[in-house]
Symmetry: C2
Subunit: 331 residues, 2 copies
């Protein structure tokens, strides 16, 4: 495979990945990298893989795919209140990749490394028989003992979500049915907003410090709001009740849900939001909302944790009858 | 995919992976794990992925595949003089996996976790369209500044390898040609030794402290002795000269190379040894050899680093003419 795509593994590393390497990665000329933790910090470790045909479309541009692979991991760090440090990448390359594709992938990584202040600590390049795969391990830091846990929600906490919910799931629906946008009467801008939100998540790392300062429990919403809140409720040993009418929707998602009310259920249960779902003690909610506004992201209280178990979605929207405890599963 | 193999993702995690989790992995009920580094230590990070049909055979038993995936990473840590701490695993599962296979995989991981004193810090489970894949990120620790580097070899150092060389490459040759063992006149025990060495590497973690104490430079031999020494020479800015007659061969490899002299070149250039190639200052060689003997692994001086560049293999074996700078490349 030394000439796959006209470029061998060593040339690939030198050309694409060495410029992305952290100091401890020694230019990626070693089998391993070192990292010197700062005193008084815990490391936060997370690992998410994306697979062609499962987590993205085979014809998605490789710069976007690379950024998505990074961002789904950075989203996990943000939800834990962790500041990102770096990542390792195992790249599975199909036989017929091109130098243009690999350069695009490198450019996507470089752009996001700069945007998020991280660098590459190593990885591996393998042949992938079925298409592009990216397995990322991301490393972040919190103050010792400070990782915000999924199981940290307490009765009385307010449930807050960042940004808007459901855009990516609706974007995926538009990708799967090219006539849907027209049937829903969406404007080009509305359609593009939803498609973009599916293609490229926006991890809320800008809020990591506020998460660490304010949240008692947290996770990112990757498998659908309702299902993920169910996981938070189970891990925390609480009940969570949300008000469907308070779930923040983008203008585009709102237009879609007005045109076809069933899409409201898609928004509440579909995956790939990569927004944060946080449980925040009442006294700290205002501080968090202010931080989210200052960051230009916004955050919205949508409900409350209480004694009991499970998730209840209150509201009289007709689509709610179909909800159940639906959670989007990649697997 | 919730019912793939008759087992959903959450059940899979609870059944197979949660029992393997480190304390900081919170029973794998969170999106991330935390790890509190010990003061005065650097972390050593490495990431190697194995792919069905590329790094192992599709019909290899899953317990062996899981152990191989772990061990190729632990081998990197050993070469860096690092003591293993834990790992993260992204598991790509084919559609038609069975519960027996996944239980075998879990048992293989559990067995090696115990053997090597490590635990699981998280990961991801995805659908893999083309067959089983395991992407492991391993974490080790060294004294601050103590990671042994590929580029650390110095002129005058002695080049030492652990164990025996070439077994795995010959085992692969036997896998690919079921009549080869008989043509070579190998005994069943010799054949099984070579096959086992391909199936299941033995990372030399028992020597990590000795590596850290003695070696100026080091790497594991994963892509073939000659080629990997070439990488060490290049990274270190030295020339390396080895004596082919001193390269340690197992009884089985020696028998194979006597029966077919070309197989001597396969042994020197084939991949998957997962032995250590170390550059050791002359004054520390005896200490390292003693440690290797005490560990029951053994180590052998095979040459020397000097001024210049490249790798020279001395000897009058007829197979040496074919060597070139051959290095097995997975990719």
């Amino acid at each position: 495979m030394a000439t796959a795509g006209g470029i061998g593994e060593f040339e690939l590393i030198a050309r694409v990945f060495a410029p992305l390497a952290a100091e401890g990665a020694l230019g990626l000329t070693d089998d391993a990298a070192f990292y010197r933790p700062r005193p008084g910090r815990d490391l936060v470790l997370t690992k998410d893989e994306v697979v062609s045909g499962v987590h993205f479309f085979a014809d998605d541009p490789w710069d976007a795919v690379a950024r998505k692979a990074l961002r789904v991991n950075l989203s996990d760090l943000a939800a834990k209140g962790a500041l990102p440090v770096g990542y390792l990448l195992a790249l599975g390359l199909p036989k017929d990749f091109t130098v243009d594709q690999i350069d695009a992938l490198g450019a996507g990584l470089a752009s996001d490394q700069k945007a998020y202040g991280i660098s590459l600590y190593g990885g591996d390049t393998v042949r992938s028989p079925a298409g592009l795969t990216l397995s990322v391990t991301a490393i972040g830091e919190v103050e010792e003992g400070g990782m915000v846990r999924r199981g940290g929600a307490r009765p009385g906490d307010i449930i807050v979500v960042t940004g808007t919910i459901g855009d990516a799931a609706l974007g995926l629906a538009l990708r799967l049915d090219s006539a849907l946008s027209m049937r829903l009467g969406l404007s080009d801008a509305q359609r593009d907003h939803l498609l973009d939100r599916y293609l490229l998540p926006c991890p809320r790392g800008a809020l990591a410090r506020a998460v660490a300062a304010c949240a008692s429990g947290g996770m990112d919403i990757s498998d659908g709001l309702v299902g993920d809140l169910g996981k938070m409720a189970a891990a925390s040993g609480v009940a969570i009740e949300i008000d469907a009418d308070r779930v923040p929707l983008s203008d585009a998602a709102r237009a879609a849900a007005v045109a076809d009310p069933r899409l409201f259920a898609v928004a509440l249960t579909g995956g790939d939001d990569y927004e944060l779902a946080l449980s925040i003690p009442e006294a700290k909610v205002d501080a968090f909302l202010t931080a989210a506004d200052d960051a230009g992201i916004g955050a919205t209280p949508i409900g409350r944790a209480g004694r009991g178990e499970g998730v209840a979605v209150r509201g009289d929207h007709p689509a709610l009858a179909e909800l159940g405890s639906g959670s989007y599963r990649h697997f």
